[in-house]
Symmetry: C2
């Protein structure tokens, strides 16, 4: 047998990635047996991984009914985004004007990776863009803030996959550059609205279009039935 809970981590990481990359879409059932067979592990281990994912609300576990990929409601999405706005605000307040040269270098590398992926049309650029915010949180030196940001970013990705438009041309690379510039120069007055608008663009716009689409979707869903009645 292998050592440690290394197998749990592997399954946890694998499922997490699959969820965040939308290979496993919200609502998908996650039976313990099937996952266990896929990863070559027993239900005991799979269960632990699923519970870990549930603790950061990426999967939903209902008693006697199994686990499924979380499917946040619009209300939950709005709550998440408003809290994320606040927490990101805390992060940049702690970092503004306090970045070390090494940290600046790290951020530039992160942005460049994002840009390369974006230019080449690889889908990982989304993950890189999300990671940018996580790296910022880690740079505060507060493990707690980093922990919370990790959860918030993960859940944001889930929600964007659910409600966001399929391919929305993303200008976040330049915005990320601007954010770093303000953080370095300590220009708080410019930094604050910049971060706010950046998140607003990425998050809230996705949600607003989602509620429009959802309403339209309901009508579309009913249309065939109405026509069937008229036609029959």
């Amino acid at each position: 047998m292998k050592q440690r809970g290394e197998r749990v981590d592997a399954i946890y990481a694998g499922l997490r990635l699959a969820i965040l990359e939308q290979v496993l879409q919200p609502g998908t059932k996650l039976p313990e047996d099937a996952i266990g067979e896929q990863f070559g592990a027993s239900r005991t281990v799979v269960r632990r991984a699923l519970e870990l994912l549930a603790s950061e609300e990426l999967v939903d576990i209902r008693p006697n009914r199994g686990a499924s990929v979380a499917k946040p409601s619009l209300e939950e999405a709005r709550d998440l985004f408003s809290v994320r706005q606040d927490v990101e605000h805390l992060v940049i307040r702690r970092l503004c004007g306090r970045l070390t040269p090494a940290q600046v270098k790290r951020l530039e590398a992160q942005i460049e990776a994002e840009e390369r992926a974006h230019r080449d049309g690889r889908p990982e650029y989304i993950r890189h863009a999300a990671e940018f915010h996580l790296v910022l949180a880690e740079m505060t030196g507060s493990p707690l803030l980093a922990r919370y940001m990790r959860q918030l970013v993960g859940r944001s990705a889930l929600i964007l996959g659910l409600y966001g438009r399929p391919r929305w041309t993303d200008c976040s690379v330049q915005e990320h550059r601007d954010l770093v510039a303000c953080l370095v120069s300590g220009d708080w007055e410019r930094l604050e609205p910049l971060m706010h608008d950046h998140l607003e663009a990425v998050l809230s716009r996705a949600i607003d279009t989602a509620s429009r689409d959802k309403d339209r979707g309901i009508r579309d869903l009913l249309a065939p039935y109405a026509e069937a009645l008229r036609g029959g």
Copy 2:
């Protein structure tokens, strides 16, 4: 057999209370067998409860080495308190001037329970005082903020038990009344420093005395050796 995961919750709640009331002190080993026998459940269930507690960092699980009550370092304590300051700030910013009459009533009831317990010398007053902050967070209507506050409050209690002085006469009842008054009247200018100082008094003072005690403790620890050298 019973139904649902009701047994897991019972063990989780029991252990949590025991930890927060310092019946189980930081560092105490938590063997799965012993707990299972005590609660009349198998290791499987106990394990789940321990993992839940680990996910809010009240217990520490190390691979192949079992679970023990978490023992936060001074550094972790400082991180926690600084994040809690920020999150409490978010909470009152959302509530200031927006409390409904029903909410005010709920808060007054909470404070009164705290005061009664304090006057009668019952130790639950600590739990009531902590719960006050949790209730505030819940009143924001943000499940996420409430969730985070629950974790922060729980861990704060653990840390106060570790580093706080044994019996420090607490004036939080009046401070809580003042906070509610400001929240009702919407007096942000007074509210903000009030909350900050309140937390500073409860949290940081405990930590500062702790680091003093710790230094003294090291000297005390070395004293016998020094004397032994001199005496021998």
